[in-house]
Structure formats: C-alpha cells, structure tokens
Symmetry: C2
Subunit: 373 residues, 2 copies
C-alpha cells in the first residue's frame, strides 16, 4: 500500500468514518480505520458493529490522489486523525513498510504507526437492502431532531431506545417514546413500500451529524435487518432494534376539554427559569389554567417555589390544574420549532397533546404526573 | 431586607463573588452568597475559606439601586444566579419575607427561595494586610499565566502547589516549580517592602479571571497570613501556603555548552503533533542536536515513532542528545509568548534553560529525563 493525497481532503474523510468508531471496542481492530487501496480508489471504513460508515475516495477528484501501490491496513483512528490533522504540509504520503507498520511522511518529518493487518478487520456487509426512498438532508435532520429526543435512555426496553419508522400506504410515521411522552412526525412519499423498523436513536444522530448540505438528496435503504443511508460517496449503515414497537396510536387523545395557545418563547422561558426547583431530581411544573388566567407554578420543600403568569396566551375550555415534567414539556416545545405552541388538554391526568399550529406534520404527547400538594 | 436593582448589574456582581464559592463546601452557608444590605450600599460576599471575594454596590451608580429596608441573608449561589440570569425583566426586587425566606419578583412572576440566616455565615476578616504594591491588571495576568502552569498538582508538598512571591531590594521574584521544571518571572517596583509568601495557584487563577480591564490598577496587600487584591469596589483575598519554598536559584544553570534558537511556532507544532506517542502516559521527546541539523524524535513500542527536522533553527556548541517531557517543553514555549525560543543546554542530563530572546523578565527550566533506547 502506497499513496499520496491532499492532507485536508484525507482528514475530512477520516473524520467522517471515525464517527462510527468507539474507543472502547471489545474487538481491537474496530478502534481503527480500515484503509483499502485499490487501483483507482481508496475505501475507508469505520464501525462499532452497531453503526458502520464507508466512504470512497476516487482518484481524479480535487484530492490529488496518486496511488503507487495497492494494499490495505487498519490504523488506530485517534492516532491517525491526530497526525493527519496536525501535520504541517499540503500533501501527505502513506506507505505500508511491512504488513502492519505504516509510514506517514510530510516534507520535514515522518511518523511510523503500528497498525493491524486488514484480515483481522471484521467483514461488514455493505450490500443495499431491498426497499428504498429518498429524503432531502434537511428533512431527515428535522425528522430526527423532532423525534429522537423522546427516546428512552434506559436499556430495560431496548425497542424504546430507537425511533420507529412505520411506512404504510405511502405515509411514513416516525415515532419515539419513553412511555411518558411521545414525539411523532408524519411524512408522505410517492411509491413508498410498507415496512416497520426501529432504528437506534444514536445511529440516527450520527447520520444527521454527517449531513453537510441541507439540499443533498439522501437515499435510504431498509429491510428487516438494517437501514442504510447513501450520501454521495458515503454509506452509513446501522443495525435495527428487534422487538415490537408499542402501538402509539392508542395514546394520542382524540378529543379535548380545553385548548391553550401560547407564545413558544414565553412558555419556554417561563418553564426554563424554574428548572432548578426540583423534587427528587424531577422538574415538576403545575399548570393552573382558567380562561381568565394561566399560571405556571413549581414548589420544592428544600429549594423554594415560583409562580408566574403567562401573558401571551389564550385559553378556552374548562378550568384545569395539572402537573407534568417540565423538562419533557421544554423538549417538546423546542422540537416543534414554531412561534406558537398549542396545548390540547383531555382532562385531569390525561395525556396533553402539544403541537405547532403552523405545522401539522409533527405532534408531541406528554403524560401528566400526580402532584401531592 | 428589601431592595430593587437593575437585573443585569446585580447578575454581574453575583457572578463575580460566586467565583470563590465551591459547590462542595463542608460548611453549608459557604455554598451561598451572603447579601448584606446597609442604608446606602449592598455588600456581597462569596468564599470557600481559601479564597474570599467581597464586592460593594453603592446606590447612585448606574444600577438604579433603591434600598427600602436594611438586613442580610445567605442564599444558595447556584439558585440565585440561575433566577437572576433568566428572569425576563429590567429591574428585580428582592425582599426577605421572614428570617430565611427571600422573595424575588419580576413583572409577571415571583420566586421564593429558602435562605440561611446571615448569623450562620462565617465571619471573614477583610482588613488590609500591612505591605502593599500596585500592578497593572495586564501585568498581573501575564505574571500568573507565565508561572502558575509550573506548579505541582499533587498535594504531597503543598508549598509547590503555589507561586512563590519573593520581594527583596525592590525586585519581585515570582517562581513556580513542581521539582521537574521551573517558571520564573522577575519584576521591579519602586518602594517594595521585602516579603516571601506563597499564594495557591488556584487563587491566583481566580484573581486573574476577575480582571476585566487590562489597564486597571490592582493594589496588592500582603503579610505573612494572607494576600489581598483590591480592584475598584471588589476585594479578593486568599490564604497563603505555609512552608519554606525551595531555593530555586540553585537549579538555574549559570553556564551553557550549546545554544539553540528556534521559531516558537515551529518548535511548538513539531512537539505538539507527537503528543500522542507516549510511554506510560509520559510524552517523552528526544532532541538530537548538532550545528548541522536538529531533530526531534519520539518512540513508543506500542504506538509507533516519529522523526522530524527543525527548519527555522540555529544551533551552536557541542553535539548533544537528550530527552525531556514534551508536555513540559510545550508549556514553557507557550508561556514565553515570544516569536523565538532560546534553549540553553548545560550538558547531558543537566537542566535546560528556556527563554524568550526578546524578554529577559521570564525564564523557564526543564529537567531532562533518562531515555533507555
């Protein structure tokens, strides 16, 4: 293996695949980047066995790639990135000097790094799953941002740590829930095949971090085993989470007894400034609503209490007092990305439906909690 | 206690005194800010018993302070800061509603916080020590930045965790050492009384963080018990470290067998990019110097090795190969703030003297380490 290439270009591509790499991999080779040099391209692969990223560098691009000898090797990602980032040169040369030792040279210096032979790298199947659909990068980003926050961060029910993508009759329902709240985004597509899969939220967040241009088309391939995101010359693929995702349709309230419409900024800041008033680490807020006045209160024996009136707010329907987790409410308001927030109440201790009056594609549900004061 | 004041002004002053507060104080009252309201001023105090900060807010300043009732209370710093930072109003009103409960009000809301009675706050003596001298804020900042990094971070020899200030015959010698390296700054003053004290480096760093304007005059008061920094209406005072600071004069080499002058940027980046090649966590670099060529090498059985030639470099004197801690060398180069770095070698395994040819007030020493390859 022997090639030279523009240093910054190489650094970008190494950074991209290294996103999949975890420094605490039980398989030593997976802490490295696998570099495979063919006659006219270089393939870089990074993986943590849940998520894998592969990118291809073709000669002839604006990268000045010159391949002198084919071959392959695996090099510890963090060391390789450090050198390529810090070297003080435009072009970098990389050469295997025996099966597992690699030399990186610049004008005035050289590094030799111990690598691992490419045979020891796990073989990863990057073949494309059968169904595919296409989304704009910005739509995918928004969809992930508006749902993934509601996933569970506990491993007791693994299926809740992912976002469920359920396609039926041309409509894609993206849902996430930790069983106390729900975030759902609904999108329609032409020619969408039916499927029902749950993608780990960590993988989705890594995918969206790799999306640079908002206008880029992302081709998404899925089957019952994996999901693959195709971005230009890069494939990001992730395993799925097994298990049946709960039927979230059932918990979406169909009717309401009262409706509040309020400025998102005001509701956000009123809740946010009470964030430190917690009971057993839970940020519990109490909404006291009548058509005349809506207040948000908090109280903690240890810390103190607060009482604030919402000013930019209309409320219609029956008087209602209920408590909920303020952090969940904040997450929902922020993910709605709207100027106004609409809260639909279905009764005492019944789920609250939270939405953006300007965007019907997205819906949040927060379940109230019992308050004892 | 009852007053109203401009919210942003109050926030700034609360932030300032809160720098001294540690969240894990064994004395509960010390996790709070002590607020003492007199007839025409408010005094805020924060302390962690090592370092204490007191600032005075006078009515009549651009703070719209209106005092309705005198009194005092201690309030948990993190909660108070959070409220005052996030409240959505220009003016804030603060009132004791019983001995230990405080009400903070804005236009549409109010918070009530549990406080602690001011009698429970430790009494801190802010009287000024006997000797004083004056420095520009920017000189004090530079002096601390150029020495404190060389302090020890281990508690085995407490005196090495501070910067020693030794004034004799109008000259102030500021020295810090962890016994493997030394940083020393020398300043002269008119009318400087002799003293020899060691100030905890953490306190010095806190002091410099509180210095906003570079041109400000800082009056420094010292005696054998404490040091006090007077900045406008704020006093920052710190305890001293007991014990005799080592006589560092002895380890400064008086003669050299070889001298290198090299671009600071080049030496920094050559050393910096080998930072990950470590042996038992130590970043060991080897200098191989002759008048013809100077190289910096590193080597680790596990990771790999490097070899780089210094280009913007002159070297005179005898050929020399020696190893030292690269991280110590980097700290020294960066603290010298020069374009060029001068390294004076006094022989194999002898201390290296590192200086900025343009600034004779500052001097660094790094002791070589034995290398076994």
């Amino acid at each position: 293996m022997h090639f030279s290439i523009d240093r910054k270009f190489l650094y970008e591509k190494l950074s991209l695949v290294s996103r999949a790499i975890s420094s605490f991999s039980p398989i030593p080779a997976l802490s490295g980047i696998c570099i495979q040099v063919d006659a006219n391209q270089i393939i870089l692969t990074g993986s943590n066995s849940n998520i894998s990223i592969r990118t291809t560098i073709l000669s002839g691009e604006l990268n000045q790639l010159q391949i002198h000898e084919t071959g392959s090797i695996v090099i510890e990602a963090k060391y390789l990135l450090e050198i390529v980032r810090k070297l003080d040169c435009t072009m970098i040369e990389m050469e295997c000097i025996d099966h597992s030792l690699v030399r990186l040279s610049s004008v005035n210096g050289q590094f030799q790094l111990n690598g691992i032979q490419a045979q020891e790298y796990p073989s990863i199947d990057f073949s494309a799953p059968s169904y595919s659909f296409t989304m704009k990068a910005k739509d995918l980003k928004e969809c992930v941002a508006q749902t993934s926050f509601a996933c569970s961060d506990k491993d007791q029910r693994p299926v809740l740590t992912g976002v469920n993508f359920h396609a039926r009759q041309g409509i894609l329902y993206c849902s996430a829930t930790d069983s106390y709240r729900l975030a759902r985004k609904v999108l329609s597509f032409d020619d969408l095949h039916d499927f029902n899969i749950t993608i780990p939220s960590k993988s989705l967040i890594e995918v969206t971090r790799s999306l640079e241009e908002d206008d880029m088309d992302i081709q998404i391939f899925v089957d019952h085993k994996k999901a693959q995101f195709l971005l230009d010359k890069t494939i990001i693929q992730t395993r799925l989470i097994d298990g049946t995702f709960p039927d979230v349709e059932r918990i979406i309230p169909k009717e309401s007894v009262a409706v509040m419409e309020v400025s998102a900024t005001e509701l956000d800041s009123v809740i946010d400034r009470t964030n430190f008033i917690r009971n057993e680490k839970i940020h519990q807020i109490k909404l006291e609503c009548t058509p005349e006045i809506c207040r948000i209160k908090t109280s903690s024996v240890e810390i103190g209490n607060s009482d604030e009136i919402l000013t930019d707010c209309t409320y219609t329907g029956q008087d209602l007092t209920l408590s909920c987790n303020g952090s969940y409410m904040l997450d929902a308001i922020r993910a709605l990305h709207g100027e106004k927030v609409k809260l639909e109440f279905s009764g005492y201790m019944k789920p609250i439906r939270i939405s953006n009056p300007e965007d019907s594609s997205v819906l949040m549900i927060v379940v109230p909690i019992r308050s004892y004061d």
